[in-house]
Symmetry: D2
């Protein structure tokens, strides 16, 4: 809080005398994840509906990516969190991104994303990731399990995302070869921050496009493969409108990064 007289502290609610109750700790946030990426193309018209001005259609209209990730994350203010209580440091995620561009620079919007822990839900809203809660299941390899084994050509990976009793997304990857960092799609995120006004439900209090400030990106143990992807109909989701028309392969890799915040590039208010 900038106001020195305000007696409570916290990056988000709850604001308290000590600030340790805050649902989200302040940035920088540090991430390490096991990522499965599935690349696809969908109907360009349906993808375009999701891209509001001043964002524009990207160079490859209808191109998208789904990520399934198991993340472990901590913050600058509590770097020991993964030890203090692992429950507050681990979450699983299913993320749908659609290519767009801004002033000629290609990137991705994220129309849909599901996670399985509350702190990351709110940390997402603060950054402009439109998170909802789900249960997310990811294949785990095991070098020493006599029937499963480790990552290798032919290894198979699946991600499943279920929410409110409905299967929402299912993606899979069959490993075909080791790959290089340069094989991975380049990512830049154009995120939408939005928070309602409480006096007038038709007007947001916050509504802006943000570029996520990401640094320290490192990748390792990269595999390329053949991918499949299904989006399912739901009473509470619209992702099925992005049904894949073409699969573009996929990748499995480890990843680390730091998010220090974001930079507002457009406000709708």
């Amino acid at each position: 809080m900038s106001d020195k007289k305000f007696p409570l502290t916290g990056y988000t609610l709850p604001l308290t005398p000590e600030g340790k109750s805050s649902l989200v700790e302040p940035p920088p946030w540090y991430y390490g994840g096991e990522v499965t990426q599935v690349l696809f193309r969908t109907d360009a018209a349906r993808a375009t509906e999701l891209i509001p001005a001043p964002l524009e259609i990207g160079p490859d209209p209808g191109q998208g990516i789904v990520w399934f990730v198991e993340w472990v994350s901590v913050s600058e203010s509590n770097p020991d969190l993964a030890f203090i209580n692992p429950e507050r440091a681990i979450y699983r995620e299913c993320l749908v991104m659609i290519q767009c561009s801004f002033q000629g620079e290609p990137g991705y919007i994220v129309p849909y994303i599901w996670v399985d822990n509350d702190f990351t839900l709110m940390r997402g809203f603060v950054q402009g990731w439109p998170k909802k809660m789900a249960r997310i299941y990811l294949t785990k390899f095991s070098e020493l399990n006599p029937k499963i084994g480790g990552k290798r050509v032919g290894a198979k990976m699946k991600g499943i995302c279920e929410a409110h009793g409905e299967r929402i997304v299912e993606g899979s990857l069959v490993f075909t070869r080791r790959a290089e960092p340069s094989d991975l799609p380049s990512l830049k995120f154009y995120l939408m921050r939005h928070f309602p006004n409480i006096e007038d439900a038709s007007k947001p209090a916050v509504h802006e496009i943000v570029i996520s400030e990401v640094s320290d990106v490192r990748v390792a143990d990269i595999w390329a493969g053949e991918a499949e992807l299904k989006f399912f109909e739901s009473a509470f989701e619209e992702v099925a409108a992005l049904a894949p028309t073409e699969m573009l392969g996929g990748f499995s890799h480890n990843m680390g990064l730091t998010i220090t915040g974001g930079r507002v590039i457009h406000s709708y208010r």
Copy 2:
């Protein structure tokens, strides 16, 4: 969205072409709940630390209430929700309130509140309820269960709130008599809305005190009783600072109400 040119819709993120993906539906919101209230007094100094100006200490410094509730809620825009998918309409809640006043009018702040479903977590942040996720367990009576029976003098009720592997709150009530609506504490909520700025973590984008706009309040089947309450130490919560110094009884009742939004009475920005 007030801007007619903006192509996406939703009360909260995700904003989409149809608006059905939005994590929260717009108000009015309609609630029905089975409420257990536990009244207590805590150290006035610790309670006062939680009350930021322009709110002031109330007429009974250190007085507080804990609610355990199972709610069923729907919105104006989706009144059939409890049938379409009950998972999106039911949640359990543990709410801690501390007496304060504003311009001479007594009411309650809500420093801590836990719920067990994502839509209500975000709906809480929009209104100024500082919600976090927990698992909440509540005694259920049963007229026809041969050993449990229904509400009656001597019936016992317990609420338990657990988060991140820690028991946080435990409250209980032993029914002593039927009670009247006029026996229940009068409630007015002074809530704090807060949403971070993404460019500068030290400055909020939204920070204001709101009076919740509540109508259609009805109560029924009211019982009074003797209460107990425990707050537990936690690495991620500060509620233990509000340890009860005196118990003031409690109530169990059904309740219905409508929340139409809120009115901002102070902005800290």
Copy 3:
């Protein structure tokens, strides 16, 4: 334990010095539930496949019932359990039964049943209910919720059962009239107890047909209605083979009962 020299006690594992760790408490078990029944007819050949001798096809081949229930249960040895910790006393259930008969007496087998708590899973295996874990969502009515209201003609009820990220069963009921206890189907359960041998996976250690010993059955607040039912395909379930060919209405009611144990009517060993 009958052997007085055996130093550990418990109705099930874990067996311990005090016996309080046991996953299941010994019978009698006392139940109170809010039950939604959906009656249907399926292909008689598929139903018959599920009925092993000495059980026989019943008088109405292919007739079945699905129950969705929220139960509260305690045992003779711990009648205060619903107060001590409600988590150990409440569970939700989705139960599929198929008509059969034994020596001319009609009843039901239970080929599939899902619950959401561990103690009832094991208590089911002990009695011959073939329980698996699921998440089960049930419409909750609310007299005081301004948009939901209580049970009444036209009220709508839904039950959803999801397991391992798949929707498994969905049933619904639209209330058309109040009904009498005599309108409800008469129930007698022929259950199959089965527990593997550990030295030879092809031979069970326990395999027998049991009549559940149920007493103190009481019902109240009975409504009849029009029903719908869907079973979904799954990689881990076979219930979809019982797809309804005809709906036979349904009921919603409260219910209480006591289970004191079971009587073995046939052993397969």
Copy 4:
């Protein structure tokens, strides 16, 4: 089923025409896990209470081990399970073992064990592991997370086990050095299979001591460290009676193994 005339199949309930509904698949079962072991000594008298004849006190009375594990497991009959649906192949476990011996051969009983998935709960009961459901949280390392990093001297690991709203076990390890397979405690399990009779609750239908048949044991990436351990009081657990009186260090390692079944060494019936 050995009886060719019995028309249903399955290793456990539910028994069905295809056998794919069975909660547990038949052995052999293949495991791969990330194991944290914490070695301790407790009061020998309390440990001894848990050791029923013909098992005897081991050479180091009161010595015990707690394991926290994330397992991935599949069976011979469904080796692709980790891909088909990861939810059916992954679980977390907290296991308490106490040294004993049988006919002069030292080994361990397992008085308490918690897991977080239904298939392994029942697979445990079949083998004699007295499993109950819990939520289990384990530190996850991350080479690429800028603040967490991988396994190394000084790395810290924690396991937390919570059930029915109570923290039950908490163990931690600070890595001090790499270690060899020969440093790890040698394990032989004496397990108790037990399944109640339904006609007489005082007599079990199955009650026997089993030696688990384990093969293909491999370990890798072994670290030794300094350990801490806490058992907490609970209304439903007795593990607090085994409070550590001395810590004996611990290990973190990967592990693979096959369980083909068990051999009965004593029957109590």
